[in-house]
Amino acid sequence: MLLLAGRRLASMLLIMIVISILLFLAFEGDKLALAGRVLGQYTTLEGKLHWIEENGYNRPLVVRYISWLYGFFTGDWKISAQYNRPVLEFLAPRLANTAILGLCVFIITAVISLILGVLAGINEGGLRDRVISVISVITTSFPEFASGTFLVAIFVFWLDWLPGSSSFTNGFSVKELVLPVAVLVIFNFGYYTRMTRASMAEVMTSQYVRTAILKGLPPRSVVVKHALRNALIAPFTVMILQLNYLLSGIVVTEVFFAYDGFAKAMYDAALFGDTYVVSACAMVAVFVAVLSQFISDVGYTYLNPRIRFA
């Protein structure tokens, strides 16, 4: 177990270093272009050269990379060109916002899709299964901007129950969270329901479940005690890997609701060409991706004894 975790951590570091080299080359390889992006469109060539000299960009590439990486680990993420403030200070509250959104979506999606998936899976081919499956397929096929428009039209313009933007300008507000969460849950739960259903249905046909039923155990006990744990392995892995999506894949939803999160910040920075923010965002995204891999591996071991003892 420890060995596995250690191996995983090591490979995580390696991946991050490789990606950081690629990012560094992409963003800071061409120092003249970098100066142009940082200083803005009106700067003269002299101004750029001056900036390059002033900020130590005339040092060898390797030295620059090492100092860049060092700065990254010591929390010096440089100054954002677009926002004119330290990247870390600017990104932290946005990460928190996205974490709140992601966590809500994650929990709600998990609960809904596990319940629906199990209900559908234990009765494969029945009416209940068909209804749940059809609903799942339909909701998953709505892109976020479509369901977003739909929900806003109903709850903001027609019923006037909910606020139309979610920028938290007056501090955190649960009301402002409802629509973005709803949009993401609607988009996501169908897929996980289908995953859970498939996994559950498969387990229900396995021999040990048949044995349990033949033993005369009540169906409830068969499902909860015998089938569920095994059926959860596949959906669990998929859901943990979803963390990464919840961090940077929700750009459409965040922009749609003016939700001030990490994905929107990354999107804006990419459009603006705000090099330091983009590279920081990329590093954070990579970190979360690798971390979720790690969690899923460890959790998988816990759920599946065959791996634990292998």
Binding site: R37, G40, Q41, Y42, T43, T44, G47, Q82, Y83, N84, R85, G148, T149, V152, V156, F157, D160, L162, P163, G164, S165, S167, T169, V255, F256, F257, A258, D260, K264, D268, L271, F272, G273
Partner: protein
């Protein structure tokens, strides 16, 4: 009336009574020449026999409260280099301009109390308001104003003021160095050491190289904010200023919070600008659910949506706001005037207006002078003639038509729609255009560089002002690299001609050059609108969407 009436004023009065100019133009020109606008309004009433009400006075405006306006919050740390209107809206609440052009297109003194122009329009004397003071208590002096003008005109700063004032304040000088191609690197400096003259602490004299009538209007060009020289051109939270508000909180792309200074003119306690991003639905949603009390500008797609909100007033105004598809004449195939004209001939502006802007506005005529401008001259429009366009292309050596690429941005959405409509029309003229849509922020990075691009231009009160900013040889915003000696000379002439009739003729010539040789295709003029909660009082929409916080008030909910 001052006894030192400008020599042109009697002539203006004559023109007004001859109905050569209307009352509004009379007020504008009379106040440009130093007549107080109150007096100008009075004379206008006297001469025409119809009273013209001066702008509404503040009645019983509710005091106090917080007003929230949805508006993008870009970086605002270098006000003199602004190239958006909304960043100037942020600084405008704190720092003032020497003059101010109102919603009626009339320019009045603001930080100055009056100005006088010499007979030949080459010497302008600005009298700074006696009681104009900085927040920190110091007097606002002619020296401060002079520093700001010099800073804006410094080529190192890169302010678009250079484009407006280059003709009469600057001259080209050789830096003595050569670029890679061996061409001399040119820069600019004040045309005369005495161009900006400080007479006494409250009197500033501008000595111009050539006559210019629109000096006061140029002084209200939106980057031309009067900043505290001690801050060296920078603007941050807590910066010194002369206006009613102080910036107390600023988070780029999130919000800006202003507090009204005690005893400063105005009604609100606080003014907030809230950035809701690029998505117009979020903005409409925020107004519908009363998260904000007003929006900077409505998108044409959302027009019906705002109309449907019972608690909201729509404020609409016809403007010279537009977008132009401009070609760089330094790039093939646009270096051939025939190609440029062919693209114009293959464009049908009236249809573009219907398709792209729901008919809200006016069809344009490819010369970037709008019917709302007093010096607009009606000339024979080119018309939609795709066959002729084909013929011209053949003459230019493209018998099979041309394949081109046009860059535009998706926000606001009418721009992309207009480009798509034009590209469709061009096909009939043998012009096959690929449309390259760049995200807004990316677009503004390259807008001066792409060979063919669609750029939005804001409203300016006089017809020649945009021509001077955008098509004069060598100015920073001349993105089409347009260079035409005859055009530049006519432009200088127009800028020094006060008589509207005469100037109209000059603009007619300029317009003809634009049609025959010019670098643009222009589909439409648009009306703009903003939407405000009915609780908001004192809001009048400005043709350039300027927001003046001290005029706004809000009724308690």
């Amino acid at each position: 009336m001052s006894d030192k009436e400008h020599i042109w004023i009697p002539k203006l009065k004559q023109q007004l009574s001859d109905k050569k100019i209307d009352r509004r133009e009379f007020v504008r020109y009379a106040s440009l020449l130093g007549m107080s606008s109150g007096a100008a309004y009075m004379w206008a009433g006297k001469i025409t026999g119809q009273p013209l009400a001066p702008p509404a006075m503040a009645q019983d405006m509710p005091k106090g409260g917080v007003l929230k306006i949805a508006q993008r919050i870009p970086k605002v740390d270098n006000p003199h280099t602004f190239s958006w209107v909304y960043d100037s809206n942020v600084v405008r609440q704190v720092c003032g301009y020497l003059t101010r052009t109102g919603v009626d297109n009339v320019t009045r003194p603001h930080l100055c109390e009056k100005w006088e122009a010499s007979e030949d329009l080459k010497t302008w004397t600005l009298h700074i308001k006696k009681d104009a003071k900085w927040h920190k208590g110091e007097d606002f002096t002619a020296e401060h104003a002079a520093w700001n003008i010099k800073h804006c005109l410094d080529p190192k700063v890169g302010s678009s003021v250079v484009g407006l004032m280059k003709g009469y304040m600057l001259k080209d000088v050789d830096t003595g160095t050569k670029d890679d191609k061996g061409n001399a690197v040119m820069t600019t400096e004040l045309w005369d050491a005495n161009a900006i003259e400080i007479k006494d602490p409250k009197t500033l004299v501008l000595n111009l190289a050539q006559a210019q009538v629109a000096v006061p209007e140029h002084l209200f060009h939106y980057p031309f904010l009067m900043l505290d020289p001690a801050e060296n051109g920078a603007f941050i939270v807590g910066s010194n200023g002369t206006e009613s508000f102080e910036l107390v909180e600023l988070e780029v792309s999130r919000k800006a919070v202003f507090k009204r200074r005690p005893d400063a003119p105005g009604y609100l306690d606080e003014l907030h600008f809230i950035d809701l991003g690029d998505n117009p639905t979020a903005v409409a949603g925020a107004l519908a659910s009363k998260q904000v009390d007003g929006i900077y500008q409505g998108n044409i797609e959302q027009f019906d949506l705002y109309k449907g909100m019972a608690h909201v007033d729509i404020h609409q105004v016809v403007t010279a706001q537009t977008g132009v598809a401009r070609m760089q004449m330094t790039q093939k195939p646009y270096d051939d005037p025939k190609v440029r004209k062919a693209i114009r001939l293959a464009t049908d502006p009236a249809k573009c207006l219907q398709i792209a802007h729901k008919g809200v506005g006016e069809a344009a005529e490819h010369h970037h002078v709008c019917t709302v401008h007093p010096d607009y001259k009606k000339i024979e429009p080119l018309g939609y003639k795709p066959e002729e366009a084909k013929k011209l292309l053949a003459e230019a050596g493209h018998p099979d038509g041309i394949d081109i690429e046009i860059f535009c941005k998706p926000d606001p959405s009418w721009e992309q729609a207009a480009v798509e409509a034009m590209a469709e029309q061009w096909k009939a003229g043998g012009i096959r255009a690929k449309i390259n849509v760049l995200p807004s922020a990316k677009f503004w990075e390259v807008w001066t560089e792409v060979p063919f691009g669609f750029t939005e231009w804001t409203h300016r009160p006089l017809g020649f002002m945009v021509l001077a900013l955008a098509y004069r040889t060598g100015v920073p915003w001349n993105e089409s690299r347009y260079s035409n000696k005859q055009f530049d000379e006519l432009l200088n002439k127009a800028e020094g001609t006060l008589d509207v009739d005469k100037r109209r003729e000059i603009l007619g010539e300029l317009e003809t050059i634009m049609l025959e040789d010019g670098p643009i295709t222009q589909p439409l003029w648009r009306s703009v609108y903003a939407a405000y909660d009915k609780r908001v009082q004192g809001f009048e929409i400005h043709p350039t969407l300027y927001i003046f916080g001290e005029q706004l008030a809000v009724k308690p909910a």
